[in-house]
Symmetry: C2
Subunit: 361 residues, 2 copies
Amino acid sequence: MTSSRLNGTVRIVGAGLLGTSIGLALSKKGVDVVVDDLSPANQRLAIEYGAGRKPAPTDEPKLIVVCVPPDVTARTVAAELSAHPNAVVTDVASVKLEIAKALAVLGADLSRYVGSHPMAGRERGGALAGRADLFFTRPWVIAADVQANSSAVQLVESLSLDLGATPIRMDASAHDRAVAMVSHVPQVVSTLLAARLNEVAPEDVGLAGQGLRDTTRIAASDPALWVQILSANAEQIRPILEAFNKDLENLVSALADVDAGGSLSVIGDALKRGNSGVAQIPGKHGSRAQNYSRVVVMIDDKPGQMARLLTEIGEVGVNLEDLKLEHSPGAQIGLTELFVLPEVEGKLINALTERGWRIAG
Amino acid sequence: MTSSRLNGTVRIVGAGLLGTSIGLALSKKGVDVVVDDLSPANQRLAIEYGAGRKPAPTDEPKLIVVCVPPDVTARTVAAELSAHPNAVVTDVASVKLEIAKALAVLGADLSRYVGSHPMAGRERGGALAGRADLFFTRPWVIAADVQANSSAVQLVESLSLDLGATPIRMDASAHDRAVAMVSHVPQVVSTLLAARLNEVAPEDVGLAGQGLRDTTRIAASDPALWVQILSANAEQIRPILEAFNKDLENLVSALADVDAGGSLSVIGDALKRGNSGVAQIPGKHGSRAQNYSRVVVMIDDKPGQMARLLTEIGEVGVNLEDLKLEHSPGAQIGLTELFVLPEVEGKLINALTERGWRIAG
């Protein structure tokens, strides 16, 4: 148990993936967390999972985190502001300007509201997908209205820091512009790509590999949620899609006559711009790899080697945060990727090397 | 060591990811494999990794598998056909019609050539990324020319079966149409999406999450390779991109006026078509999950639990093919995903249950 910046009771409204993850992380730090949800089953699941306790009539939360779907976020925030006149309220919805406008229309006390948006998620939803480290080193956008008290902003910033996230202050419209590019346009493109598969013979789709799976994974997202998000942020999304469309038309023209002079360089340039674009993304190798130090141990392809490795890691006293087995049945060597907190990486490498393990890359 | 369909010597030309993986899998089955590569360093690496042995002047390969880049595939196949007049030659390049045409122009002996395309790959290349199970349950397209001997076709089919792949006979143009949809168009779309990131402020890209990472992962692919692939298959790719573009323009129009009647249903319908499209993809959850049975064990968040679990699995005598740790530092319970051969799943579940382990989902 490490010390938290937050003190007093934190109330979480909505026990889905984000609410449960926040509850798990704060509870682990010793913060008093109460978890509420319109669904008693969801609420109980999150509480049993370790996200916090049931609310009591005597609770006086200092901070309320609203983790409900976007279309009910503004009214839930307004209701919580009214019900708890001494609490600061934040939310985690993915478009910020519209919620701020709706709260103004509802006459909410904007001095105690600070919108936020943790840039973290998973393909699975629900309480059981919750992870205390979901926000670890992830950006946490804090989009405070000019009317917000600075103490309220600081409280939400403390929340993000207690969760291991990196708070980033942005105004609501700058946030909405950024997420149009990094989240909403990818959703549209993935959706339209996946839609093409409806026109294809099953035997053709049967040839699908990992590239198609990755590019279309988010096309499986909830349409009801995404109609809300895309329409709420249409002004920011549209110009990016128009620029995409122009690039696409250039490429289609080049493909129409690949033997024409310059066609191959149009195609090649597009591919290179794709390379340089993807290089802009920080930590491309996935959040897990980013959060933790990675130690790769080579193990002989013999029974019991993994168990011995893990037993010895336990003896060394190092906590594994995650583990991946890279094991080819045909190869003479297996690779085990161990993920540990950066501060124990050196200790682990030394101890394993002393015990005769071979450390790779 | 299990029995192989192939017998005699198999010669692999090109010790990259695919060549090495084929060599690992065949060697494991006891097949005599020789590995050749223009680069002695690549060749040695693949051989040390277990992919086969060095060629000898006395070798008389019955089957030659050409695993070199597409632009040198036709001429390498032709050279191997000439050098080994009794051998059947196949290749693994991703566009098939152009290679068949080039071989005809080169006057190659098409009775002994059978083009193939294993639908398997990894984001990492090179010999050390090789895996004997790379092709396990993956489609393996066999695109035989009408001139190919049926015994040659059967030999390449035996290769695919020895690798655990599923042979699928298609003619070269049907193959090229299918991969345009499942591989080449996703590459273009991912590339054009990633290219948009060049126009964005770094602080905006800093908000990137897993969705952007997944949709743009393949945009990091080698431009030199992909210029070859896209231009070789332009006729099949273009109509799909044109249909994509039409859908895009409809969506942009709806986003231009979200308050207009019908706009939300245009957006919602697109999202739903994305859902149904992604549902067409077989085994969406990744090839690993497809190949093996998955047993999820709940473990208490206490030190040593993982080591004890693995020790006991070893005692039971079940081989783990892969393992994933789903561990939230905040949760009271960790989930360990064990991947085993389908035939030992029941044995493993029974043995673990008897020993008091809790099996989830």
